[in-house]
């Protein structure tokens, strides 16, 4: 009646509900939002350094990524016609609410900047809109980690410290990769550098996540989600190495760009699926909670809280360090 050996359940049924968010809508939104947000940063850098081609391309990527992402997000709603209800209230306890107030201005500003870029009209206002998009861009990339982390889904909630960094890195890879693909010329080093730095942050954060999560790392390592994560990691690492070495060839540059994009999308699907897998198996809800209870009963709660705090610090420092190099 009870399938597993070391915990009990009600006929092996899951305890929490599986998220109703649809595949591919939501993981695609995570990917597109990440690409768009980081592209806005790239665009502003390009504008500041007078790199016209890069500016134009990344502005278009930011605008279309945000637009398409919004379409997927709205499509995922049970009542799409009511999507504006998202802006009815503002709640810091709801990352989806906060996210709506990031996505709405980002999409508008990025579109305005892109429109001005394409038409050549109102260049000053367009540039101002671009600066605005660059301000909302980074939070757009990372808030989606809060969206997943602020749930009862074990593999997401427990990963709430590392996921934002995984997403930041993955977003940078996607933006850099897209620009490398669209402008494969040797004259596009900023995009390449962004992708390489993003790859570093993503790979380190993913590794830290798996190490800290213990049993809850299983969905990131096993099954379909595990395969997605592993393949994404391999492609990202390979692309990072090749784009570092082969910086002169157009074909290599474009190929690496495409690889970064694919890997970034796979990371989002992998993280998403890992959460679903952890929701479906009562083991991931019961066993960690049992351990927590046992620890509390043993009166070690204080010691553990201390451990957590120091661990968190090292994790953050390491990721930030990699980003800086």
């Amino acid at each position: 009646m009870v399938p597993q050996a070391d915990f009990e359940s009600y006929y092996g049924q899951q305890i929490i509900k599986t998220p109703t968010w649809k595949t591919p809508d939501v993981p695609l939104y995570l990917f597109l939002g990440g690409m768009a947000g980081a592209s806005a940063v790239l665009a502003e850098g390009a504008a500041l350094t007078g790199n016209r081609t890069l500016e134009r391309t990344t502005r278009l990527v930011a605008a279309s990524g945000a637009g398409l992402g919004t379409v997927f997000l709205v499509h995922d709603l049970g009542r799409p016609m009511r999507f504006l209800n998202m802006l009815r209230v503002f709640k810091v306890t709801s990352p989806l609410s906060v996210g709506s107030f990031i996505l709405a201005p980002f999409a508008s500003l990025a579109s305005a900047a892109a429109a001005s870029q394409v038409t050549g009209r109102l260049p000053r206002l367009g540039r101002l809109a671009g600066v605005g998009a660059a301000v909302f861009g980074p939070p757009l990339v990372t808030y989606t980690a809060a969206l997943l982390g602020n749930t009862a889904v074990p593999a997401w909630h427990e990963a709430h410290r590392e996921l934002p960094f995984v997403f930041a890195g993955s977003g940078a890879c996607a933006a850099g990769g897209m620009a490398m693909l669209l402008i494969p010329a040797a004259g596009n080093p900023p995009a390449r550098q962004m992708a390489i730095a993003g790859a570093g942050v993503e790979l380190v954060a993913t590794e830290l996540l798996k190490r800290r999560l213990g049993m809850l790392a299983e969905p990131y390592e096993q099954g379909r989600s595990g395969r997605l994560m592993k393949t994404a990691t391999r492609i990202t690492a390979t692309a990072a190495v090749i784009s570092t070495i082969g910086r002169r060839s157009r074909a290599v540059s474009a190929g690496c760009g495409a690889a970064y994009l694919v890997a970034s999308a796979m990371t989002r699907f992998g993280v998403f699926e890992a959460g679903l897998a952890s929701a479906r198996d009562p083991k991931y809800t019961v066993v960690p909670q049992r351990e927590r209870l046992a620890a509390r009963r043993a009166g070690t709660a204080a010691g553990e809280a201390h451990d957590h705090a120091s661990h968190e610090q090292t994790g953050l420092d390491q990721v930030t360090e990699t980003a800086a190099t």
Binding site: D6, I15, T18, R79, S94
Partner: protein, 312 residues
């Protein structure tokens, strides 16, 4: 926004902004007297006009309802657990496959002393547990915290209710609930769950399930009074030797600040499909935003590094 996010909270309704409000209402479900009649399930469906939730035969004892969901606001769980008689094992041949009546850990499991829901019929003894589950109307309700539209709200009775005219079916409340209660109704697109019969409460009436329960397993009332009743019942059962009895969701210091609808159980919570130590996810919202912020700053850093040394 300013309401407290975790820990003990004695006036949840006041915390939600009601200056003048009735006492907090809730359920105490005493599963030790539940007979598994499912009158609560039926009464709830009829009163609230909840559509059918499928007609399936699950093979899970008498439970064909399976779990709480958008169209199941009361769910009666039936646990059939093999038990080992407390008598000494004489090594004599018995009925049934070897190991039957053995706990899945491999350790023989003693029948709880004074167990009054067991059939003590020798080797094939079964323990019957029945429990009517419902939305817990948490003190710190994750579903409500994460709802981006404000569709989920705290009523003047301290309960948690969805407003179907506002819900846009974003689905955020679904994975946020640590108990797996609320869900989207597929054909409809919106989220639904127990309202603790908000309409009946406003008329000063008892919720349909509690009214229909023939054994008073489901008791409705003021939460503070129900807590006293639960304590008394627990003491009584312990006196009678039912050591396995325990309260679930009664403690205002637990991970959700205590449940408005709590239970007396005769086994571990997970045996009934309940999480053993639920915590409201928004307890960690500070840490979550902190890390999101740091990661966003890291991305800005990546941007700066990417253009390092390049000037117009």
């Amino acid at each position: 926004m300013t309401h407290s996010l975790h820990g003990r909270l004695d006036d949840v309704t006041g915390d939600a902004g009601y200056a003048d409000h009735p006492k907090r209402k809730g359920f105490f479900t005493d599963t030790s007297v539940c007979i598994g009649c499912k009158a609560c399930e039926v009464a709830c469906k009829e009163w609230n006009q909840v559509p059918d939730d499928g007609f399936e035969l699950t093979g899970m004892s008498y439970d064909n309802t399976q779990a709480l969901g958008a169209s199941t606001w009361r769910h009666v769980a039936f646990v059939e657990k093999p038990v080992h008689p407390t008598t000494a094992d004489l090594g004599l041949p018995g009925m049934g496959p070897p190991g039957f009546g053995t706990h899945e850990s491999g350790l023989p499991q003693a029948a709880p002393a004074g167990e009054d829901q067991a059939t003590a019929s020798g080797d094939g003894a079964l323990r019957w547990l029945m429990s009517s589950d419902v939305c817990k109307h948490c003190t710190h309700a994750a579903c409500l915290d994460v709802c981006p539209t404000g569709s989920l709200f705290r009523t003047e009775f301290g309960t948690v209710v969805v407003q179907p005219d506002i819900c846009n079916g974003c689905g955020y409340c679904v994975p946020a609930c640590p108990y797996g209660v609320i869900d989207l109704r597929k054909e409809d697109g919106r989220a639904f769950k127990c309202t603790l019969c908000y309409d009946r409460l406003k008329e000063g009436q008892t919720p349909a399930c509690a009214q229909a329960c023939p054994t008073e397993s489901i008791q409705f009332g003021d939460v503070d009074e129900l807590r006293q009743r639960a304590d008394a019942r627990l003491a009584e059962l312990h006196d009678r030797g039912v050591d396995v009895a325990r309260l679930y969701g009664r403690d205002p210091e637990d991970g959700v600040g205590g449940d408005g609808a709590f239970f007396l159980l005769l086994d571990e919570p997970e045996v009934y499909g309940l999480p053993p130590d639920p915590v409201v996810t928004t307890r960690d919202i500070g840490s979550i935003w902190k890390h999101v912020g740091a990661a966003a700053a890291t991305l800005v850093g990546i941007g700066v590094v990417s253009f390092a040394g390049r000037r117009r």
